[in-house]
């Protein structure tokens, strides 16, 4: 998958995981703090696993970037940067 499609895949997976885990998802805007999205740690863990399978990257493991993403925009960038 090319990096420009990452955004769609990431937001799709956010919605899928929230539905499966019975979580109420906040509107997905770039400035949304991840921890206010409605997903808990377990949901994020599942999300990162699903994205590794579908996008073929896991920037949490491979990135040398010293900071974790805080907002949804950071999160998408984190994945896009890892793929380029």
């Amino acid at each position: 998958m090319i990096a420009s499609n990452f955004r769609d895949e990431i937001t799709t997976q956010f919605r899928l995981v929230a539905r499966e885990q019975d979580k109420r998802l906040a509107p997905l805007t770039d400035d949304l703090p991840l921890l206010d999205s409605g997903l808990d740690s377990l949901c994020f863990a599942i999300l990162v696993t699903r994205l590794e399978d579908s996008l073929g990257v896991d920037p949490f493991t491979t990135s040398e970037d010293a900071s974790f993403p805080v907002t949804l925009g950071d999160f998408i960038n984190f994945y896009e940067n890892a793929a380029t």
Partner: protein, 463 residues
């Protein structure tokens, strides 16, 4: 159980021996007790003496209430069973039976029990009865078992506090906190450390967000704080991570990887960072202070007060900090004949350091919570189309590990068929109905066969 051994050290004795504790407090999310008030007061309506010599289940909603009850009961009750907040209410009678409990202290509205129920008050009232220690109270902690019923692990105050230097009042200005609930071993260590060194303590709450907790920790000036690697990853993803500036960060309960240690060091450059190995059964074993993942062999060979060895690949520990036994009759002995506890954690030497690579028994650690594969397999195997299943770990950078399942069907479906998807969905529904969320597999893979050993048991790989 030992009885009638007056003047033994108890939590209350230890607190009173520290001297002036004015200004020290224990903060919950919605309430706060001054430590001197807890030493002088009672959360049991001044009726603590009624629990003399009894085996008591403590199953309160709030950690603060549990702490006040612990200070009151230790040295008085013969046994205290500390029930974690997520203990399903249907397990209470099992726990009570195994612990031979004859009273329960609980404000959980749904608590149903045949035992005499004592509902603690929200506040402290004056306590007039003699509070000096009468018993060496057994402290019983719960840990997850393979069958779904918890295992009851017996400690004493002495074994729980073996890693804490006794009778030494900490320097003023130190405030401890922990992401853990104090009803779990990792959290209990921090409460006892705060209590025995006379520092203030900020408790977490299941009812507040990570951001709210971090802001509260910052507002109370937390200097020392502990949590699992999963707790810390979540903290680093919060915009409120900068609201606190701890001097000391401690990780335990899961493998601390180098990426996380580096991120913590970059985010909190002023903090000393250590990762510790401890478990409910084996106690506190060691602390690694060089901000590198894994451990140097010297730690195994030269940790004062703790003997360690690696046998058949797993870490074995002997010290006065280990638990003494399980209360459940069906459990294997907690220690071997030489007194070593087998942690079940597999260590591998790579270069000049040992690294934890998983569990010999296949137990999966999801964010510090243990998952026994057998418990999940039992649920999956209830599905009529399932012949057998193997639950195993998948590494995850957020929670350390997640649960996945390989499933052999009775009649193999055509790969990718719609029946496959229906069965997958039905298995997951079954799991969600029967298991806590962290035990539900994140993926179900259909496989043609699973390896079975000559013993007839599934072959489990540890990593």
């Amino acid at each position: 159980m030992k009885t009638q051994q007056p003047n033994q050290i108890s939590l209350w004795n230890a607190l009173t021996a520290l001297g002036d504790l004015s200004g020290r407090s224990m903060w919950g999310a919605s309430a706060c007790f001054g430590v001197p008030d807890m030493v002088a007061g009672s959360v049991l309506g001044g009726r603590g003496s009624e629990f003399y010599g009894r085996s008591v289940l403590v199953a309160t909603t709030e950690q603060l209430t549990a702490i006040a009850a612990l200070i009151e009961l230790d040295g008085l009750a013969s046994r205290i069973v500390l029930c974690p907040p997520d203990l399903p209410v249907e397990h209470l009678s099992f726990v009570a039976q195994i612990a031979a409990a004859d009273a329960i202290i609980s404000d959980r509205l749904e608590t149903e029990s045949d035992l005499p129920l004592f509902v603690p008050s929200g506040g402290l009232v004056p306590c007039v009865h003699d509070r000096s220690a009468q018993h060496q109270t057994e402290w019983v902690l719960l840990t997850s078992g393979t069958t779904g019923n918890p295992k009851l692990v017996v400690h004493t105050l002495a074994s729980l506090t073996g890693a804490i230097e006794p009778g030494k009042l900490a320097a003023p200005g130190i405030t401890w906190s922990t992401f853990y609930d104090i009803r779990r071993y990792g959290g209990l260590q921090i409460f006892l450390r705060a209590a025995l060194t006379g520092t203030s303590l900020v408790l977490s709450s299941a009812h507040e967000s990570t951001a709210q907790f971090l802001a509260r920790a910052g507002a109370h000036g937390v200097t020392h704080i502990s949590g699992t690697p999963s707790h810390w990853r979540r903290a680093l993803m919060s915009p409120s991570a900068h609201r606190m500036a701890p001097d000391y960060i401690r990780l335990s309960g899961e493998i601390a990887d180098q990426a996380l240690l580096d991120q913590l060091r970059a985010f909190y450059p002023q903090a000393r960072i250590s990762h510790a190995f401890a478990s409910t059964e084996a106690g506190v074993a060691f602390d690694i202070k060089d901000v590198l993942s894994g451990l140097h062999p010297d730690v195994i060979n030269h940790t004062p007060g703790v003997e360690m060895k690696i046998k058949q690949g797993t870490l074995r520990i002997r010290s006065d900090r280990t638990a003494s036994r399980y209360l459940n009759h069906e459990c294997r002995p907690l220690k071997d004949k030489d007194g070593f506890v087998d942690t079940g954690d597999v260590l591998e030497l790579r270069g000049d350091r040992y690294y934890f690579v998983g569990r010999r028994d296949g137990v999966i650690n999801v964010g510090g919570l243990k998952v026994h594969p057998e418990e999940v397999e039992e649920v999956i195997n209830r599905h009529p189309h399932v012949r057998m299943s193997l639950v195993r770990t998948r590494k995850n950078p957020i929670m350390g590990s997640l649960v996945i399942a390989d499933v052999v069907l009775e009649a193999p479906q055509q790969s990718g068929s719609s029946d496959d998807h229906t069965i997958q969905r039905d298995i997951l529904t079954l799991c969600r109905e029967s298991l806590s969320a962290h035990k539900v597999p994140v993926s179900i893979n259909f496989v043609p066969t699973l390896a079975v050993a000559e013993t007839g048991k599934l072959i489990r790989r540890h990593a």
